[in-house]
Subunit: 352 residues, 2 copies
């Protein structure tokens, strides 16, 4: 599907300011126009020292007439804060992260801060590289999300004295605040929900990693079964890629067992939706033959039919908390780092 592409009408010399654009208006230009010194312009802007009403008025007008806008590079070179916070995510197309970013904006924007969202998905720029770049760009704070328990990438920020929040990390670390979901609790709650619906054989489709949220959720699952006096059977816990296809594959393996489970916990909603598809494709019923529960409450969880019961991680609220943590540390750098743990909510739909 090649795009049809055509050159814009005419116009070799349509625009007089052919290339490059006009040279930018500087503070001296404003000062000259207003008939004052650059210091006065600077202070009229920052309000950091008294400026007579009449002078401020003149400066204001000059600024508008010239469309002046201070050069941020020069400002931050002088040590001014940039009023920006970097939000580093591993994959912008994973709907989880935009929600996180939105939550942060909920808090940052009213305070005059701009969130710069950086996605590290596209090589060759590594996450650490982005962190260092953001420090070099003088952001006032950094939120790093996505990989588990790896604070190495946050170190440059700590060293540079830039407030950092690690998202999804459990281990607090000197100088680093964390915001985390209680995944063990979530795994337990999901499993208990299934048990309470009368299912005794409960399976679990998880990822291939031994750490991070997927592993914690399995731990919660095991704990719930043990509390209920049910033997944990290894064959009921299958590992597959964390994706829709992985969910389908996992469900195929579970259904192929001699005694397949009546209910399955899936490590996230994509996996659950894939698993659901597999069940429905076989002419089986959800939740009649197999009940399903996922994690995250992505948009699609409410969109599929039957609606997917899921553990909601309130990601947006977590984003808000992360932003607040960063703001707090910007305001008070001496404050010790904090670890915030978020509980999850069961969102009951039709799949259980």
């Amino acid at each position: 599907m090649a795009a049809r592409r055509f050159v814009d009408g005419e116009g070799p010399k349509d625009d007089p300011p052919a290339a490059g654009g006009k040279p930018r208006v500087r503070i001296v230009d404003v000062a000259a126009r207003a008939g004052v010194s650059i210091t006065t312009v600077s202070h009229a802007l920052s309000q950091r020292r008294p400026v007579s009403a009449r002078t401020r008025e003149k400066v204001q007008r000059a600024i508008e007439e010239l469309s002046y806008r201070p050069n941020e590079a020069a400002r931050s070179l002088r040590g001014q804060p940039t009023a920006t916070v970097a939000v580093i995510v591993p994959d912008i197309t994973n709907p989880f992260y935009p929600q996180l970013a939105r939550g942060m904006q909920d808090v940052l924007s009213p305070k005059g801060y701009q969130a710069l969202i950086c996605s590290s998905d596209a090589e060759p720029v590594s996450r650490r590289e982005i962190v260092e770049q953001m420090i070099a760009r003088r952001v006032d704070g950094i939120c790093i999300s996505g990989y588990y328990d790896d604070h190495a990438d946050a170190e440059p920020a700590v060293e540079a004295g830039v407030p950092v929040v690690l998202f999804g990390h459990r281990a607090p670390y000197p100088g680093i605040s964390t915001v985390t979901t209680d995944d063990v609790g979530a795994g337990r709650m999901a499993t208990e929900h299934l048990l309470s619906r009368g299912h005794e054989r409960v399976g679990f489709i998880t990822g291939r990693s031994d750490v991070g949220p997927p592993a914690d959720r399995v731990a919660g699952y095991r704990a719930a079964l043990e509390s209920a006096g049910i033997q944990v059977e290894d064959e009921l816990v299958v590992r597959e890629p964390v994706s829709r296809e992985g969910g389908a594959a996992g469900m195929r393996r579970l259904l192929a067992l001699d005694r397949p489970p009546q209910a399955v916990v899936c490590t996230n909603d994509f996996v659950a939706i894939g698993a659901m598809g597999e069940v429905l494709d076989r002419g089986l019923d959800v939740p009649g033959d197999v009940a399903l529960i996922g994690f995250d409450d992505i948009d699609a969880a409410a969109l599929v039919r039957p609606g997917l019961t899921t553990m909601s991680v309130a990601i947006r609220r977590q984003g808000q908390a992360a932003a607040q943590l960063i703001l707090d540390r910007i305001a008070n750098p001496d404050q010790p780092p904090q670890a915030t743990l978020f509980a999850t909510d069961l969102v009951q739909r039709q799949s259980t």
Copy 2:
């Protein structure tokens, strides 16, 4: 204007770097450690003038030992490009835009550019404000997406000589390149698909706006009907909010007609999924009783059952094109702006 960026009493304090973080390593530190001048360090880094192998070696080592990283603010103050491109989107939680951003990264990242994604959803920061802020931050290019045919917000960038691409705009404008979907063609193709399946009464659930993609898609729908010699009936075109709820509401209205349509075009996938839910909730069949087609091919379109037939806008590829356009103009600022029009693809699933 942009003078005050902080809400009263909020924002970064003006106190000195009281705690946290060693002072940053500067180029002089590297020079001292390597026993050379800062000029040499600079050139060892930029390769802009020959440096003896031995000297470069020394400088390299000093840089590593000190973890030196050039201050970007100082660089861009000297007029250096920042190797960053701003991607401004209206709503980061709309899955359309992350795909766009990802497409841009596909192209930007291998060239060493970093995409800074800014979402304007959170008030009070307006889109224009973000554009100006990005210019002040000296990005090398800006991609603005989301609102229709409003190039006002792009003007500051044009004036500043910063390459801009407008996404989703049809009207080329002096100094501005555009990337657009052929929405009229898409509306026509969707409608023709339905007609070719034997449906004669085809409805349309659209948004409330008279401009932009939704309106264009309706125009294509009308054109297709006319080409087929079918009378366009106004009652078959209903306007509702562009959302899942809107889709359900629109479908209710269509089903309440004396002669309801056998097939319905929905202005996007959310609307279509809402409409689908309404049909299924009544015990009717999709596509047996009502065939449905949407636009955009969001993730959920493949996830729902029956799978939603939809017009795919290849958003990621459009992002790539937009990025390439920006890169081209960075490389050659005198080049006239271009307008790129993207055709759409029919993605056939089970809803038609």
